[in-house]
């Protein structure tokens, strides 16, 4: 049998962006519907795991926006920093600030809450995605 699966390779290429899209949608909907940064992050983690199976650990890690540890750290940092603007304005830490962006046809509510949730998303994706990919990489040559 061929060492790699063409079906997996092909579909992974298709599924990875779809899953990431789903992850982002879940992230953005989270404030009002089931979902949120963590669940979205977990979906992204699954995507990374899929890619790790299809292309190997390094391939999966390369597909992350940053290397996993900086991604995770950056996510937590984003979460941490999302509470800081409030401090500067003299409110308690993590007091969330809201603003609406008029987009012409509709308006979009932006807030530090969203920033926080995005931080959660990246933290989970970076950390657990990295972990899953590394774990999958453990046996890459072990059978040989």
């Amino acid at each position: 049998m061929s060492p790699r699966s063409l079906i997996l390779d092909t579909l992974a290429r298709l599924l990875y962006p779809m899953m990431l899209l789903a992850a982002v949608v879940i992230l953005l909907r989270g404030h009002n519907e089931p979902g949120g940064g963590f669940i979205g992050g977990m979906v992204a983690v699954s995507a990374t795991a899929l890619l790790a199976v299809a292309r190997g650990t390094d391939g999966a890690l390369r597909a992350l926006p940053l290397p996993p540890l900086p991604l995770a750290a950056g996510g937590v940092l984003l979460g941490l920093l999302s509470g800081v603007p409030a401090l500067l304005l003299g409110h308690g830490y993590m007091t969330h600030l809201w603003a609406t962006l008029p987009l012409g046809f509709t308006e979009f509510a932006v807030s530090t809450v969203l920033l926080f949730d995005i931080g959660v998303f990246f933290a989970v994706w970076g950390a657990l995605g990295g972990l899953c990919a590394e774990a999958i990489g453990l046996d890459e040559e072990a059978g040989a």
């Binding site: 899953m19 789903a22 519907e33 979906v43 699954s46 899929l50 999958i136 046996d139």
Partner: protein
């Protein structure tokens, strides 16, 4: 009607789950078990649908969507495990 259908779905799904569980425990090969796992995931999606039916709240279906998006990864990784395992564990 919704509630009735939900009950039907739950009953059938639980039956399927029980069967899958039994196969999972009996094996005999790893592949058998992972196949059973796949049924479990399908059953879970059905359960989410049943929950949506039972409560009449579509948001439970979001859980089913999520499951459909991620569930197969588990099966893939298990399959890969079996594929690479040194010998049949029978």
């Amino acid at each position: 009607m919704n509630a009735l259908l939900a009950t039907v779905v739950v009953t059938g799904t639980l039956l399927a789950l029980a069967l899958a569980m039994a196969r999972l425990l009996r094996g005999p090969s790893q592949a058998d078990r992972v196949v059973a796992l796949d049924v479990v995931f399908s059953a879970s999606v059905a359960m989410a649908a049943a929950a949506a039916l039972a409560t009449g709240r579509v948001l439970f279906l979001d859980v089913a969507v999520g499951l459909a998006v991620v569930g197969f990864v588990a099966a893939i990784v298990w399959a890969r495990l079996i594929d690479k395992s040194p010998e049949d564990p029978r």
